[in-house]
């Protein structure tokens, strides 16, 4: 049975850095000891707008990196796209602000028990959790290749230090303003075959995850996708964030992406049924 992340805690976290990077903001929170339980693929849920906010729901962001240091204790880093009112508010906060967060949430990426050839695929800010993941995979002896894509170059998030932990990095933009022109899926089959990829990790827009799933399935490669469905609570109590998942018995049921995910076995997600009337479920 699915359960909430056992380490999840609610706390006041201090925003200790907020820096623009391309189209995104790199935001770092000091969260204390709980950082030890934050794994690649987990997310943080942040209360936005302050005390008199009309925004009553938290915003979810993938944890891109964690660290522990002497000055600030445990810190988590997020890569935030200023999208609507909540994320814009967050990107406008200054260092020193105390913000209510719940962390860590959700299921993390599964790590292979034996060294394997891994391919990490990120769309837009979806690359954020992949660099932390790359570190872990590297430390377990995996080969780590990475493919990133976005509409424009400013939406490619690929920090210098991050690049160091991957064996190769390929970038695609739709307008060709960075890397090759195209999408992450453009040469995917070839890359998987050439590099003898055994496991794919992906994070990005749902359409990208679906496209990756199709290719991964056709080649029989394991694929862990970190999904992004709108979440009201992030902790499993509201049932808004569900996705149609095919179980081992072949039947489809609606699973909460906040606690059964966000990392899911791509092959079990019925991408075609997302947003469709549940009457069609088998």
């Amino acid at each position: 049975m699915s359960t909430i992340n056992k380490a999840a805690l609610q706390r006041q976290a201090t925003l200790i850095a907020n820096k623009r990077i391309g189209a995104y903001h790199q935001i770092i929170f000091s969260v204390g000891d709980v950082v030890r339980h934050c794994k690649p693929g987990n997310f943080i849920a942040i209360a936005v707008g302050g005390d008199s906010s009309k925004m009553i729901l938290r915003r979810a962001f993938a944890i891109s990196r964690t660290s522990e240091n002497a000055q600030f204790g445990g810190t988590v880093e997020l890569i935030v796209a200023p999208h609507g009112s909540g994320s814009k508010w967050l990107c406008a906060q200054q260092e020193g602000t105390e913000i209510d967060v719940v962390v860590p949430l959700g299921k993390a990426f599964g790590i292979p028990t034996e060294p394997a050839n891994a391919l990490l695929i990120g769309g837009g800010y979806g690359s954020a959790p992949l660099f932390g993941l790359a570190d872990v995979l590297k430390s377990r002896g995996c080969r780590v290749d990475m493919v990133l894509g976005a509409s424009v170059g400013s939406k490619i998030y690929a920090p210098m230090e991050g690049k160091r932990s991957v064996n190769s990095l390929k970038i695609f933009t739709e307008d060709g303003s960075m890397g090759e022109t195209g999408r992450v899926t453009s040469q995917l089959k070839e890359i998987i075959t050439e590099r003898e990829v055994e496991i794919i990790y992906s994070c990005g827009p749902m359409a990208m995850l679906q496209a990756v799933t199709e290719i991964a399935s056709s080649l029989g490669v394991i694929h862990q996708a970190s999904v992004e469905e709108a979440m009201a609570c992030g902790i499993g109590i509201c049932m808004t964030c569900v996705l149609p998942i095919r179980g081992e018995d072949g039947t489809v049921s609606m699973k909460r992406s906040c606690i059964d995910g966000p990392v899911m076995d791509g092959a079990t997600v019925c991408w075609d049924l997302v947003g469709k009337s549940t009457e069609n479920f088998s």
Binding site: K6, A232, I235, F281
Partner: protein, 311 residues
């Protein structure tokens, strides 16, 4: 008056609760997740997500839209069905020493009867909340509580099965011309108390897709935005039916808000949407309420119930 010595216990019909703040149905699932943030036995009761006879997938996504000081949801009663629920969730809750109020929903008056029969044979449940007001069903005709007669038929069929062992609370919608009329009807049909209010029917149009944002098109509006509607409904019903216990809900996110509903006439208060924004909302609200009661010189919660009606 110290906050600690205020007696905050309450009753709904013949059920006693050590504290007046409950979770709201559909906003705590079956309690497991919130238990990570506070002990469930410390609050009044866990009101579980409305359960139907059969497992149900619910409505398509997107299922939520945030609105100013509120949100819309269109879950559509997704759930495991009563049998799995009684086998797994109720025993777990009872093992936590939590009080349990089971919310039931059906597509026909008979289905409610069937559900009630299954609950009757389950020991340990404190009360039944009969959800006749869920706006998130394909056929809006299924919102029994928009009609006095169909509401009464549902309560009738539950009453026939439950002989008075545990109280029956009828949950009503504010989306009616005259909520007092529906309230009187269900009380005449044998409900022991009322749960007020369910969500208000609303819609958000996505200005990018230029279509209704929710998969189910319409959804139920909840959160602080609707609190004035909840207070009004509770006040009106309390005025008309002063002896009928009311479990109040709608936009409560602080002790102040809970007190407002209690002064209007609620004997207990369910907290729904506030838990989404703040997983410790239920317990904080209960603590704040205790303080506010003490500051006002109340020695027990009961003195405050309906106090706004005094002449």
């Amino acid at each position: 008056m110290s906050a600690h010595s205020v007696d905050i216990s309450t009753t709904l019909g013949n059920a006693w609760f050590p504290a007046p703040i409950f979770t709201a149905s559909g906003c705590a699932s079956s309690g497991k997740e919130l238990a990570q943030f506070f002990p469930l036995k410390d609050i009044g009761a866990v009101v579980t997500k409305s359960v139907m006879n059969k497992p149900r997938h619910g409505r398509p996504t997107p299922r939520m839209a945030e609105t100013p000081s509120g949100m819309l949801n269109s879950i559509g009663l997704q759930g495991p069905g009563i049998d799995a629920f009684l086998a797994n969730d109720v025993p777990w809750l009872l093992a936590q020493n939590a009080r349990v109020i089971v919310s039931i929903a059906g597509e026909t008056a008979d289905e409610y009867g069937v559900l009630a029969r299954k609950l009757r044979s389950t020991p340990g449940i404190s009360a039944i909340e009969v959800n006749i007001s869920c706006p998130n069903v394909e056929n809006r005709g299924l919102v029994f509580a928009t009609d006095r007669d169909t509401s009464c038929r549902v309560i009738d069929s539950v009453r026939k099965v439950i002989g008075g062992e545990i109280p029956i609370l009828a949950k009503l919608t504010p989306d009616v011309t005259n909520i007092v009329d529906v309230a009187k009807g269900v009380i005449d049909s044998g409900a022991d108390g009322l749960a007020l209010i369910n969500t208000v029917l609303g819609m958000v149009i996505n200005i990018d897709t230029m279509r209704p944002h929710l998969g189910g098109k319409t959804g139920g509006l909840s959160g602080p935005a609707i609190r004035p509607i909840a207070v009004r409904a509770i006040y009106q019903v309390r005025e008309a039916l002063p002896t009928v216990p009311i479990l109040g809900m709608g936009g409560v996110s602080s002790g102040r808000d809970a007190l407002e509903l209690i002064l209007a006439g609620a004997s207990g208060v369910s907290v729904g949407t506030a838990s989404f924004g703040n997983p410790t909302a239920v317990i904080s609200i209960q603590n704040e309420l205790r303080e506010l009661l003490a500051q006002r010189g109340f020695t027990s919660l009961k003195q405050a119930i309906g106090y706004a009606h005094r002449v």
